[in-house]
Homo-oligomer: 221 residues x 2
DNA sequence: AAGGCTAACTTAGCGGCGTTCACTCATAGC
DNA sequence: GCTATGAGTGAACGCCGCTAAGTTAGCCTT
């Protein structure tokens, strides 16, 4: 592994920032473990000395925060694409949930850093809100407008988010668990989450089992 | 902070193991961050030198694995207590879900290590299966027997587990997010998860929104 | 009671980590 | 040609997990 990098010309110092960020993301993907992404490893891959990283990132956490932003943006794009050809907003929710889990499983270490790490001082909560979660919220709001969901769109969105995240993060954190076939599991879970939220607002929450059974059996065709 | 520890008598060397484990858990709880639990910090708190830890734990990960086992056991006890006085198995599920999230929020760093960390080489998957998850599975199986849930209890249990874990881990990982009041959010989410799983098996999964609305509106009293 | 055996624990040190400070070097502008 | 400055480096600090070698103290044998 040579060190191909030449000193950048006068105005182009910031180019190094992009190279460092890309190297960090590549290392995460290739090694699959956050701990192997050390500043020395990143610097070595870029072909630069360690302190050079500090010219563009205040510290290691800032670099990881930049990684998170990339992940959030990629997730946003993925969810938009997944829901673009849905027939209705309820199906859009389901597709977004499935795409969310697939994204997490396809980029587990990126997802772990962005969504399962310790909360850092600067949580980009606005980024998330205006990005992927904002897109989810729009679909939820449409569902409320159509009448399939009822209640506060923000709370409904968080509940759906939590369901998708729960499945994704469990699958990532506990890969040895004897999971059933994933496609069916994920689709079933997101389906149940949507239907559950829709059904819950139409039912008294404190019904007895027998009452719940009686009501739900009416759903059968 | 003095170092009160005297050398243990001849047969009691293993007592140190318990002290180290307790110190690690206390440090986790007090500092609220895994990174501040270094072997030096643990050893200092116990009043012993660092290599002494290696007499009872193969490496740091083994110590953390022991912490995880404690957490799983405490979680198991919590879930058993929470569901002990439920009127029916469906309510037992709901109470377990609520208690699960409360446990995670009350012990966030313990929960993070046990459930949100990178999978270590020895995942105590059997421990989880025979403990807290086993207890959840029993309630699910009862629900299937009673007829409110339908399908594979293992898959249903995983889906409920994922929902509770999703809420818990999101709340821990994203504390800056503008969460609504937690009690209502948690109870609503677990309720919706149970009802959703029960309703899903009674519905064609590919109904259009309008069909879903029509069917679900029949649930209203 | 003396001495040895071994369990229990320590001292010293390795290499790797994030981070900092003082520095070199090349070039753009005068 | 000179110099100001942006781009990047070398060396070092303290903390980390971990290890090899050594030391201490109490039970057991004789």
């Amino acid at each position: 592994m040579p060190e191909p990098r030449k000193r950048a010309p006068r105005g182009q110092g910031a180019a190094l920032r992009g190279e460092v960020l890309r190297a960090a993301m590549d290392l995460l993907r290739e090694t699959g473990s956050e701990e192997s992404v050390s500043l020395r490893a990143v610097a070595g891959r870029v072909g630069v000395s360690v302190p050079s990283i500090y010219l563009h990132f205040a510290d290691k956490q800032s670099l990881l925060n930049a990684v998170c932003e990339q992940v959030f943006e990629a997730l946003h794009v993925t969810l938009k694409e997944a829901s673009s050809d849905a027939a209705d907003p309820f199906e859009a929710l389901r597709r977004q949930g499935v795409a969310y889990v697939q994204f997490a499983l396809a980029n587990p270490e990126h997802y772990r850093i962005a969504m399962m790490g310790a909360p850092s001082d600067y949580e980009p909560v606005d980024e998330v809100a205006s990005g992927a979660f904002g897109h989810l919220l729009a679909s939820v709001t449409s569902c409320v407008a159509v009448g399939v969901l009822e209640g506060d769109p923000l709370q409904l969105g968080m509940q759906l988010w939590a369901t998708a995240h729960g499945l994704a993060s469990l699958l990532i954190a506990k890969p040895r668990f004897p999971w059933p076939p994933l496609d069916e599991l994920v689709d079933s879970t997101m389906c149940a989450a949507g239907i559950g939220l829709a059904a819950q607002s139409r039912l008294d929450r404190d019904l007895s089992v027998d009452a719940v059974i009686a009501r739900l059996d009416a759903l059968r065709e």
